[in-house]
């Protein structure tokens, strides 16, 4: 068979659809459980296979062989559709993620590492990921369970709210790249020699927090909220359908991490691509860099999960609408001003980087200081003896 672009694309799609679920099942879930075990002074799964490496297989067998129950009063068609809706958009969104640079094969230069380098990449991504919420809403509604309904409603409100700051955060990056193509976004960072996380520090925080909220993970896992809503929208799901929700959630995490890497952390580029002294970092292939960075964000997800308590619903909404959206809007203005105010249209980005970097360090130090002071205060306030 001749390797025409069309065949190549089919191959790439096949790899994405087959490989990502496998990664989810075997690597991320195991990594999450082992890491959380490590953080929580316990071992985590280590029985199946050497060092528990085959835990994913065991989980898969369990989920597939489980009885697939549909509640008696459930809305059958919707109940069936919901898990599909949860997983398809996340996998589709991966189509526009460039995992590496364009490659020269024979005479043609082809974007080997991206399934579809469309020129509206980022827009496509935002559009397609927001379909995922329907899976959760419909699943919660169709289950005919009050807890699931509450979970579905929570997720509707939450995902709609956090879509806004996420989009606004990405708009500020668009101002820097002047392109929606994911490949172009990375290449622009390479040409500037500057990851967008520096001028877009604020945008990055907004994006990642919204991203965590979008994927229903701690501390924003309200639609699931195991201790309140008994797993919320997926209470009634079992077997393969549950596995689909599970897969959808983890695939969404991968998408959010990949986009964070692509948009803010230079995609496949090594750190500081323009600094000659760091050229040796090129020994790691571009895809390697991409994996390392994505892995770091997935680690952050796990880290958050074992650190934070859960927000309450009204607090979550307040955080989104009263803080993140105004900040995101202000951020757009700041970035736009920085770009317009300087002649070369890229000097402003460097200035912005220094300002944001300085502010970040300052705030970190202030937070540390405050932590120390409150701790001292607390210890001083605690009654030490009966005579007090």
């Amino acid at each position: 068979m001749k390797l025409t672009p069309a065949v190549l694309t089919y191959l790439k799609v096949l790899i994405l659809v087959a490989v990502v679920p496998a990664i989810v099942g075997f690597v991320i879930v195991l990594a999450e459980r082992r890491l959380m075990g490590f953080m929580q002074v316990r071992l985590g799964p280590n029985r199946v296979g050497p060092k528990g490496l085959l835990q994913g297989v065991a989980d898969l067998v369990k989920l597939v062989t489980k009885e697939d129950i549909t509640p008696a009063q459930a809305e059958k068609a919707v109940y069936f559709l919901a898990p599909v809706l949860a997983v398809i958009p996340s996998l589709t969104a991966l189509a526009v993620i460039p995992f590496g640079p364009a490659v020269q094969i024979g005479k043609i230069k082809t974007p080997l590492w991206v399934a579809a380098d469309v020129n509206i990449g980022l827009l496509f991504l935002l559009a397609i990921t927001s379909i995922g919420v329907y899976g959760i809403i419909l699943g919660g509604w169709a289950s005919n369970n009050k807890y699931s309904l509450l979970g579905g409603l929570r997720s509707a409100a939450q995902l709609v709210s956090y879509e806004v700051p996420m989009g606004l955060a990405l708009v500020s990056v668009l101002l820097m790249t002047r392109s929606l193509s994911m490949v172009e976004i990375v290449e622009r960072q390479g040409r500037l020699g500057l990851w967008f996380v520096f001028p877009g520090l604020l945008a990055f925080f907004l994006y990642f927090v919204s991203g965590v909220a979008e994927t229903n993970r701690n501390p924003f896992d309200l639609p699931e909220a195991e201790s309140e809503l008994v797993s919320g929208f997926n209470t009634e799901y079992s077997g393969v359908k549950f596995a689909f929700f599970f897969l959808g959630e983890y695939a969404a995490m991968i998408v959010i991490s990949c986009v964070a890497v692509t948009v803010f952390f230079g995609g496949w580029l090594p750190p500081f691509p323009s600094v000659a002294a760091l050229k040796f970092l090129g020994v790691i292939p571009p895809f390697g860099w991409f994996l390392i960075k994505t892995g770091f964000f997935l680690f952050c997800y796990i880290w958050f999960r074992s650190t934070f308590p859960r927000y309450r619903f009204d607090q979550l909404m307040a955080l989104g609408w009263k803080w993140m959206i105004p900040i995101a809007l202000a951020n757009i203005v700041i970035v736009a001003l920085a770009i317009l105010a300087t002649p070369g249209r890229s000097h402003g980005l460097f200035v912005l980087s220094y300002i944001f970097g300085g502010l970040f360090v300052l705030m970190y130090l202030l937070a540390k200081l405050r932590q120390r002071l409150t701790r001292r205060e607390r210890l001083a306030a605690a009654p030490a003896s009966a005579s007090e």
Binding site: M36, M39, Q40, V41, R42, Q73, E75, W141, N144, K146, Y147, L149, L150, L153, R154, N218, P219, D221, L222, A225, E226, S227, E228, L229, V230, R305, S306, T307, F308, P309, R310, Y311, R312, F313, D314, Q315, Q371, T374, R375, R378, A382, P383, A384, S385, A386, S387, E388
Partner: protein
């Protein structure tokens, strides 16, 4: 000393009256639940009856709450209890006095030692026996260890209720060590049966004191670990500050005792107010807070853990070799009398009211369970809050259903 104390008398009345009230409330709630005539739809839902428990991960056992919600806002909460009712009070009447002790293990099953203690104290008061000094000190040590382990269970589980999973594992790491100490002392980890009328069943095993000293010295740093994760955590504070506020006066009206009462600014701790065993010789503080919200109850309990460690340390220093069993007749046949004795259990005032008719079995034994009486305040605390807060509130009053239902 305690039967003439007015608060206990009113609380007894309150407990009985509210048990009846709760039963009728639960029955009427069961009747008034409308059978859903409509197929599920998003559009005509205004008020919803949510059946919260008895199988729910956050009800800490088999508590059932019938919650009327408007969206997520709670309009009304009706606790429905009795799923774990075993008729313990009746069982006491059929057993001799010493045979009653194991039944007390099954009341508040995360704090068996304090239950044993309260029961033994009541019977000892009935008999008028003095217990040896060493037994007193060891009882206090066991009590405080039990308080620590109970508070650790509370800390871990209420963390999970609010989505913070990790403190649970830290807390249970230490609890496991405490249970090891109990196991070494009396062979059991939960249902301890570790006290006897007139003293203790066994003396301490060799090396127990040294190991305990080591553990207690290490404990404050472990408590720092939990505090590091929660005390100044922004989300933790958001979830707990101003949630479920109750004033000191209201607490007293409801008969609420223990850390909940102290978090509302009332410095009432039976270890200080009516000292039993050797608490009057020990130097410890009673942590109190003023706001009476979930956060304050958290702070009070954590500080109590630190104080418990101090108490244990002092007792270990005071320990001297000696008898652990007082002079008690072989067959326990008290005079026909009525006594009430209570201690400060981890959850609040745990009392036993015993009516003796001169035989070797009690005529009537009434338990004043802190969990049950504190639970009454839940509908009052939960009103107007969200479903998420309900979970926090069940956690914060620290109930054990074994004690609520008896």
């Amino acid at each position: 000393m305690s039967d003439e104390r007015p608060i206990s008398e009113t609380e007894k009345g309150l407990a009985l009256r509210t048990a009846e009230e709760l039963r009728t409330a639960a029955l009427s709630a069961a009747e008034s639940v409308p059978v859903s005539l409509h197929p599920p739809t998003l559009f005509d839902v205004q008020e919803m009856e949510l059946n919260f428990g008895p199988q729910h991960p956050s009800t800490h056992g088999v508590l059932r709450l019938v919650v009327r919600v408007d969206g997520e806002k709670i309009i009304e909460t009706k606790p429905d209890i009795g799923y774990l009712h075993r008729g313990t009070e009746k069982l006491f009447e059929t057993e001799t006095y010493p045979m009653g002790i194991p039944h007390t293990d099954r009341l508040d099953y995360v704090a068996a030692a304090t239950n044993n203690h309260a029961y033994c104290l009541t019977v000892e008061k009935l008999l008028g026996v003095e217990i040896p000094r060493r037994a007193q000190l060891v009882r206090v040590i066991l009590d405080e260890l039990q308080r620590l382990s109970s508070h650790l269970v509370w800390l871990g589980t209420s963390g999970i209720d609010l989505g913070a999973v990790t403190p649970f594992w830290y807390a249970f790491r230490e609890r496991e060590q405490i249970l090891d100490f109990f196991e070494e002392y009396c062979g059991a980890r939960l249902t301890l049966n570790c006290m006897r009328i007139g003293g203790l069943p066994f003396d301490l095993t060799a090396g127990w004191i040294e190991r305990l000293t080591e553990f207690i010295d290490d404990l404050p740093s472990r408590i720092d670990d939990y505090e590091q994760l929660l005390t100044e955590n922004r989300i933790w504070k958001k979830r707990t500050v101003d949630v479920g506020v109750i004033s000191g006066e209201e607490c007293i009206e409801w008969g609420v005792t223990g850390p909940v009462l102290r978090a509302s600014g009332v410095e009432w701790d039976l270890r200080r107010a009516q000292p039993y065993e050797c608490y009057d010789e020990l130097d410890f503080a009673i942590p109190t807070r003023v706001n009476g919200d979930t956060y304050d109850r958290y702070v009070v309990r954590v500080q109590e853990m630190r104080q418990s460690a101090r108490i244990i340390k002092q007792c270990l220093d005071l320990l001297e070799p000696g008898e652990v069993r007082g002079k008690v007749p072989r067959v326990i046949k008290p005079l026909a009398e009525e006594v009430y004795a209570s201690i400060e259990s981890p959850k609040g005032e745990l009392g036993f009211y015993c009516v003796s008719n001169g035989t070797n079995r009690p005529y009537r034994m009434h338990v004043r369970p802190p969990s049950f009486i504190n639970l009454q305040a839940l509908p009052r605390l939960a009103k107007g809050h969200l479903v998420s807060d309900l979970v926090a509130l069940i956690g914060t009053i620290d109930i054990v259903l074994g004690e609520v239902d008896r």
